[in-house]
């Protein structure tokens, strides 16, 4: 069953490609059509994904907070988020009079588009990837830092003091936490010897990096989790929004669909970050194998690779959600202290350790 499913992804894609080549006879046009199909497929994937994440967030929060969570619309409240989306769609999208209207309307688009772009090099299953770019990791870390422009834009153009403060916080935060994210990603790149996502996954065929890489990789995994939580502006690092301080931070003035786009971007970012963590540290779609337990490994192989990938991703998403519902928020100077005094030095030393480990071949 696993074989069938995995083959079907790649053969499906090749099938479409061959059919298109036969039908269109123009390589350029085939490429364009394929890109459109990939984009549409991504969109179709994203909407239910965000519904699931929204539902999951509410239920996780509710269970942690000893309450039931949404339970009215649809079975077990599953359709609540659909109802909310419809509500947001029909709400008036206000644009403040004194705002910079062009930037104000552009900002949510930029935030959403950048978070979608990061989806491209992620391997969702075996041989199932939108774009296996050779500099995958670099691509991810560079594209994801564009999002800060959207946030700064939103904060500035709203012409609201809270928004401006939120945007400034967000700028300082993302710029500094980029470093730690990058350094923790580099440690895996050093071990795997490639920036390509598929290569990194394949390098974990005989064991995930988090197991193979000893303590240094564990440290960089933790640093990645913390820093990426900060980078996607989620609690306890949600200073850009900081409800109790800045009402809603950079998206104070947004309403209706534009607000929904920020929400969408937040969930996509959450997914992307978790997917990257799963790919780099937990072996992506690689099943869980234990040394010489051939029967066990055989059974594990039967679980489809997409399930492995999504399972790992959602486990990390759960951890990040639990962060949000457990911890108080940091203050802005403490946020920077944490980065510059703790995460950055530790990850720098960590990179050296990983390099030594990789050169000496101490990892498994």
């Amino acid at each position: 069953m696993k074989l069938i499913l995995d083959i079907s992804f790649s053969s499906f894609a090749t099938g479409i490609h061959q059919w298109l080549v036969g039908a269109v006879h123009s390589e350029g046009l085939v490429k364009v059509i394929e890109m459109v199909i990939a984009g549409l497929a991504l969109l179709v994937f994203l909407v239910p994904l965000c519904f699931i994440l929204g539902y999951m967030e509410r239920k996780v929060a509710a269970f942690i907070q000893v309450r039931l969570g949404p339970n009215r619309v649809g079975p077990k409240g599953t359709l609540q988020i659909v109802a909310d989306t419809i509500k947001l769609l029909f709400k008036e999208g206000l644009t403040p009079n004194a705002s910079d209207k062009f930037l104000f309307n552009l900002a949510p688009m930029i935030v959403v588009v950048t978070s979608m772009l990061v989806m491209a090099p992620i391997a969702f299953a075996k041989n199932f990837q939108i774009w296996d770019i050779s500099i995958g990791v670099l691509y991810v870390s560079s594209i994801s830092s564009i999002a800060v422009i959207g946030i700064l834009m939103a904060g500035w153009s709203s012409n609201n003091k809270y928004s401006l403060l939120g945007a400034m916080r967000s700028g300082a935060q993302i710029v500094s936490y980029e470093l730690s994210v990058g350094l923790s990603l580099i440690s895996i790149v050093i071990l795997a010897g490639s920036l390509r996502m598929s290569d990194i996954v394949m390098s974990q065929e005989n064991g995930w990096w988090i197991f193979k890489g000893h303590i240094p990789v564990l440290i960089s995994f933790v640093i990645f989790l913390i820093a990426s939580t900060a980078e996607i502006n989620r609690a306890p690092f949600d200073l850009a929004e900081a409800e109790q301080e800045l009402t809603a931070g950079f998206h104070t003035e947004y309403s209706g669909m534009k607000f929904a786009m920020f929400l969408l971007a937040e969930y996509i970012n959450l997914f992307v970050v978790s997917a990257i963590a799963a790919t780099l540290f937990l072996g992506g779609w690689m099943p869980f194998h234990i040394g010489h337990w051939h029967t066990f490994n055989f059974v594990m192989d039967y679980i489809p690779s997409s399930v492995w990938f999504l399972g790992k991703t959602f486990a990390i998403i759960f951890i990040i959600m639990q962060f949000r519902w457990t911890f108080p928020r940091l203050r802005v100077d403490q946020l920077l202290t944490l980065e510059w005094k703790y995460l950055l030095p530790v990850s720098m030393v960590n990179v050296i350790l990983v390099t030594v480990m990789a050169i000496m071949g101490w990892h498994f």
Binding site: A61, I64, Q65, V66, R67, N159, K161, Y162, L164, L165, R169, A235, P236, D238, L239, A242, E243, Q244, E245, L246, T247, W325, T326, F327, P328, R329, L330, R331, V332, D333, Q334
Partner: protein, 373 residues
């Protein structure tokens, strides 16, 4: 004071934001005008009165029985203690001896109120600092106290249970068991509070050394309650000027020397345990007897002035009645703890960050209707 049409930064290079009247952290309709330098606070100006109902003026036209209910709407989180203060003041004027049973019931209810108020405060402090979950844990325990209130007083928040001469009616037969169950539950949850908030490193960082006020300043600003006790000022009215038989009870006045948000937090956390301790002492020893002294139908205080202070969950509440011998007070003044505590906010928050302002406001534990009255 025009809020519209101002540039984001004024001509003097001042960045002014208005926190409130509707804002998630102000716990009501408090309006703070804050002058900022980046994220650092240069100056704060509170604008009050959004919920001013002139309870003092209203009370001037109400009889001595009827004005008590209005004080529930001042500090609604310690409504019972407010009512108790008024009842005590009227009793002082009438020179009525309150039966021992009524006194015990009043203290029990007052301590339960304090406990529930501190629990709500604890949840809100977590909420203000960005941790949403403690709020729900706090409300879980608070709910069982509310059930006690509802069963005996008939209302959850604005009980109006104190009347001049005692309490309105006797405790419910189920009262003892319910209180004991609740105390057991609350005692078992204290370590959860430690785990999720008190011990949390982020929480410590957010509160330690933040919002410092010295003991001299605290006295000068008239701070009372946990706000002053966090600075080491001994001001517990229950100890200094005991009323309703507090002098017979064993409990400690909690003092912390830190003067910062963390110290105020720790004072309240310890006070919760002290309240539990007081209730445990009394719950099996409620004296038998009348729950209300015999009073006349129409109460008339003799000509004169009467001042009664009590310790609410937020500090010292003073009730100052000036009587001209009529059936309603000539002048009544509520010295509300929050009003004085709020005046110290500027001293505490100047030079801190916006995030700290939220922490300071939550550890002062402001209840805005009590500020505005």
């Amino acid at each position: 004071m025009s809020l519209l049409g101002e540039d984001i930064v004024t001509e003097d290079g001042e960045f002014v934001i208005n926190i409130g009247p509707q804002h998630p952290s102000t716990h009501g309709v408090l309006h703070l005008k804050v002058w900022l330098d980046g994220e650092t606070i240069k100056r704060i100006q509170p604008h009050l009165g959004y919920i001013h109902r002139s309870i003092e003026k209203m009370s001037e036209s109400l009889s001595y029985r009827n004005f008590i209910y209005a004080t529930s709407r001042m500090d609604y989180l310690s409504a019972h203690i407010n009512n108790q203060a008024c009842a005590l003041c009227v009793e002082k004027g009438l020179q009525v001896e309150v039966p021992e049973r009524a006194k015990a019931i009043r203290i029990l209810m007052a301590e339960l109120t304090r406990l529930s108020s501190h629990q709500l405060w604890w949840g809100c402090t977590g909420l203000d600092l960005g941790a949403v979950t403690p709020f729900f844990y706090a409300f879980r325990e608070r709910e069982s106290i509310m059930a006690i209130m509802e069963e005996t007083c008939g209302a959850r928040l604005t009980q109006n249970y104190c009347v001049p001469g005692g309490v309105m009616y006797d405790i419910h037969p189920n009262f003892r068991n319910r209180v004991k169950d609740t105390l057991k539950q609350i005692r078992s949850k204290f370590n959860e509070y430690e785990e999720i908030l008190t011990g949390n490193v982020i929480f410590e960082q957010r509160t330690k050394g933040v919002g410092y006020i010295s003991a001299e300043d605290a006295i000068s600003f008239g701070c009372t309650g946990p706000t002053a006790r966090g600075s080491g000022v001994s001001c517990d009215v229950r100890k200094l000027f005991p009323y309703d038989g507090y002098e017979k009870l064993q409990f400690k006045e909690i003092l912390e020397q830190g003067g910062d948000c963390y110290a105020r937090y720790m004072v309240r956390m310890a006070e919760m345990k002290q309240s539990v301790f007081i209730i445990e002492q009394l719950i099996d020893n409620i004296p038998e007897g009348e729950f209300q002294a015999k009073t006349k139908m129409v109460l008339k205080l003799p000509k004169g002035e009467f001042y009664q202070r009590v310790e609410t969950a937020r500090g010292e509440l003073g009730v100052y009645i000036v009587s001209d011998g009529a059936a309603s007070p000539y002048r009544i003044k509520y010295r509300s703890p929050n009003f004085s505590n709020l005046s110290a906010l500027e001293r505490m928050a100047t030079g801190t960050k916006i995030g700290d302002l939220v922490a300071i406001m939550s550890t002062i534990d402001l209840v805005i209707p009590d500020v505005d009255r």
